[in-house]
Amino acid sequence: MTAPLIRLEEVSVEYKGFKALDRASLQVEPGQIVGIVGESGSGKTTALNAMMGLAPISEGEVFFGEERITHLRTSQRRRVWRDMQMIFQDPSTSLSPSRSLAASVAEPLIAHGENAVAARSRAAALLELVGLDAAMADRSPHALSGGQRQRVAIARALALSPRLIVADEPMSALDVSVKAQIAALFSDLRSRLGTAFLIVSHDLALMSAIADRIIVMKRGRIVEQGPASAVVEAPTQAYTQRLRAACLDPQEVIRARFSDTEHAA
């Protein structure tokens, strides 16, 4: 059996005595879409940062494939980062305001030695892959909407063809109609490229639509995890049930609200 793509084993992250992440264990298999769902202070973002080497790990180990990557020097990390990229929450700070879209997308390629011409044409292809028009390649991000900026950020994350992309609330800052499009894009990219996605979100319903597995976190701890259908349709933990109940489906809500009056009438 092949090793999982990435694995956290009892990982803790501590800031001045406060445990932002408390002995979390989770893993992502190649080609899987895993959702980490939780509210503010749940430690979900800290888990991502721990994986990427952006947060200090006080306990536990992180494995990428067979390799232990818990504590690495920057030069060694750069090698791991070729295979593991990140997308951020806020589309207005994800892209450099003074560079063109193609330049932002091509940046990782050039940093790893690709020549400018090849990098640029790959950048254009990536922009097409994420649903943007390659003719926009030389534009600046100023004219783009939030959803479009996130697509560019995704294109940049794909540049080095990583096997895993972690995303920190990538849809939270987007309009309702755009959220679904970006979620569908993740699914599509997984099918086409086989890239695994680890997506952090506060939106259980959104994750239930695209994730294979869901991990529920609260106050730095993992509360429940399993196949998405199991966690969402038959949650075992009270907190997960509360998260479920907090998702307001308009039609469900109306049915619940107005069934009484129908009976009364």
């Binding site: 951020f88 207005s92 892209l95 003074s98 940046e107 990782p108 940093a111 900026r149 540049a159």
Partner: protein, 274 residues
């Protein structure tokens, strides 16, 4: 209001035009001659000397023009030195947490508390009355102003997601700095440089006023101000000439710096709107 109406391009061209006109007029009228003329001592403004002449009969205007290179040159050089040192140290402090940062910040504090005048006098004692002494002293004492601003802004720029994305993408430290951090710093740096130039000019003039740095008899503006003191009531134009030059230059620098920063830097380069 004038500022807003003209813009930096407008101001720059207006100023250049004015300077050109005045320069041509000066050359044509023969007012450039700063030689002694003991017959003409302490006379008021006249055809030969538009700004009158001083106690040795030298035309004030000519001397002001002659003194410009010293004053402006010293200020510019000191500005350049403190800019370079300040930016480099500020960036290093932001990039390397731990010991380097602590050390640099301590040096900043130490330098700021250093007594400027004493240092200037010591430099002159060692290097003699020279522009170099003043340049060194001003440059080496003023860099913390740049360093602090650069440190603070670079520190926050480092946390921006596109910087982190660059790091994760494998971009090297140096490239991160000039491609992503410097553009963010640019508006502040440009404005600071213009204002700082003005400050260095005032500082250099203050030193030459006190007789530090400019050799005796030099037409440096501060020195001219000092020379004008005994003749204040007899020949007030001896004060007005250099004072006017100094004040106007400082004012123009501040206005330009302001307008430049707004135009060149601007939000377009430093952040995206939501």
């Amino acid at each position: 209001m004038i500022r807003r109406a003209l813009g930096p391009v407008g101001i720059a061209s207006a100023v250049s035009f004015a300077i050109a006109v005045v320069a041509v007029a000066i050359v044509l009228s023969g007012n450039l001659n700063a030689d002694l003329n003991l017959d003409d001592r302490l006379t008021g403004p006249s055809g030969r000397a538009w700004f009158g002449s001083d106690q040795l009969g030298r035309p004030v205007l000519a001397r002001v023009i002659a003194g410009a290179p010293w004053s402006l040159g010293v200020a510019l050089a000191a500005n350049a030195i403190s800019l370079c040192i300040g930016v480099v140290l500020g960036l290093l402090a932001a990039e390397f947490a731990g010991a380097p940062r602590r050390i640099i910040l301590q040096v900043v504090n130490l330098t700021l508390s250093f007594p400027g005048l004493v240092a200037a006098m010591a430099a002159v004692a060692v290097l003699g009355q020279s522009a170099m002494a003043v340049i060194l002293v001003l440059g080496l004492l003023a860099w913390p102003l740049f360093a602090r601003v650069v440190y603070a802004e670079a520190l926050s720029a480092r946390e921006r997601p596109y910087l982190i994305a660059a790091r994760i993408g494998g971009v090297g430290r140096v490239t991160q700095v000039y491609r992503h951090i410097l553009p963010v710093l640019l508006p502040s740096l440009i404005a600071m440089t213009a204002f700082h130039f003005a400050d260095m000019l005032i500082a250099a003039s203050a030193l030459s006023f006190l007789g530090v740095g400019a050799p005796l008899g030099s037409p440096a503006w501060g020195a001219m101000l000092a020379e004008s003191r005994p003749y204040l009531f007899q020949a007030p134009w001896m004060l007005i000439g250099p004072a006017f030059a100094l004040a106007t230059t400082v004012l123009l620098l501040n206005l330009c710096g302001d307008a430049l920063a707004r135009r060149l830097g601007g939000r377009r380069r430093t952040e995206l709107r939501r």
